[in-house]
Amino acid sequence: MCATSTATAPTCDSSDIRSVLLQENAEQLQSADVQQMPEQMVKIAQPLYETLMPLVKEQVRAQIKVCDMSKTAVSVAPAEFGSWEAVAQRLVKERSAPVIQKRDRSVAAVKGSVEDVALVKAEYAAKLADIEADVYHSPCELHMEVSACYNFL
């Protein structure tokens, strides 16, 4: 729904309107440091410039999004963990769990023979060390083919 105004607006040229708007904005900013210059330029004082500059930057950024491809890089990180070390520890723990359970069953089956228990423990310790080495030192790979469509300003 729209309302139509029947009042006749006073006629004035665009430069008058611009001056009025400029004055209103200056008053809103509580500053008289805005002056209109020739060639449609606006002169503003240093404090006002420093206040407005971030806003203008944000406005320009919204209009023209420019990428700095001179430092193009792709970096990877574990999405569900805080660090790669945490990933490694979790994987070692997961893969060691069944081996540790098997070791405990084997130790229980020896029934108290100290030498045999030591032998079983040594055997499983080697297996656990292999698991840890495997987790930490097996290379992981990530390959991606990426298409980029772009232009220079």
Binding site: N25, L29, V34, Q40, M41, V42, K43, I44, L48, Y49, L52, M53, V56, K57, Q59, V60, R61, Q63, I64, K65, V66, C67, D68, M69, S70, K71, T72, A73, V74, S75, V76, A77, P78, A79, E80, F81, G82, W84, E85, V87, A88, L91, V135, Y136, H137, P139, C140, E141, L142, H143, M144, E145, V146, S147, A148, C149, Y150, N151, F152, L153
Partner: protein, 193 residues
């Protein structure tokens, strides 16, 4: 690369044909691209296919964070992204384009293969970090554990029409170089004061 004449051929009396071509016309007709376009054109962006490879053990990744980053040298990046333009009929060419001022139209992952045993988040230059993991960290994309995917996935697509209009009206201006622009010129920018 093909060079296609847009206009009717003109017979030249002089042997030095290259001298008749000024730099501007050469860049318009002898540039890179399917239609021979160069420069800022919304309809004919440059396209590059890039293969990113990261290979490291968890021990290496824990000890050296650089191992988790694919990062070509400055020279290689210029070779990858800059545009080759022929500037004379003798075949002289130049690499052109400022890598610091790139308008990205789209980025697509055509294929991904990972042997990482956990989900991996990737951060890419030019792609917004809008994909989040349970850690609350944003990534350009998250690749599932041991994923092998050949389906193309659009990672980023921007409406660049406003950017081109802005660049046409205020050539060379970006939010990053406003500080270096003279204040008299800055005053003509469309700020709402």
């Amino acid at each position: 690369m093909s060079v296609r004449a847009q206009n009717q051929p003109v017979k030249m009396e002089s042997d030095d044909v290259s001298g008749m071509l000024d730099d501007n016309s050469a860049s318009l007709t002898l540039g890179e691209g399917a239609a021979g376009f160069s420069g800022a054109s919304a309809e004919n962006p440059l396209k590059r296919n890039i293969v990113v490879s990261v290979r490291a053990s968890l021990a290496e990744l824990s000890a050296q964070s650089i191992k988790a980053t694919w990062s070509p040298s400055q020279e290689n990046l210029k070779s990858i992204f800059q545009q080759r333009q022929f500037v004379s009929l003798q075949g002289k060419s130049e690499m052109q384009g400022d890598l610091r001022q790139v308008v990205m139209h789209s980025v697509t992952a055509n294929s991904v293969k990972s042997t990482f045993p956990v989900a991996v988040g990737a951060k890419m230059t030019g792609v917004d970090e809008n994909t989040f993991s349970s850690q609350g960290v944003g990534y350009s994309m998250i690749i599932a554990a041991n994923q092998h995917n050949n389906n193309a996935t659009t990672l980023q697509r921007d409406d660049v029409s406003i950017a081109y209009d802005f660049a046409k009206k205020y050539p060379g201006y970006t939010s990053d170089n406003l500080e270096s622009v003279s204040r008299a010129t800055f005053a003509t920018l469309p700020c709402s004061i």
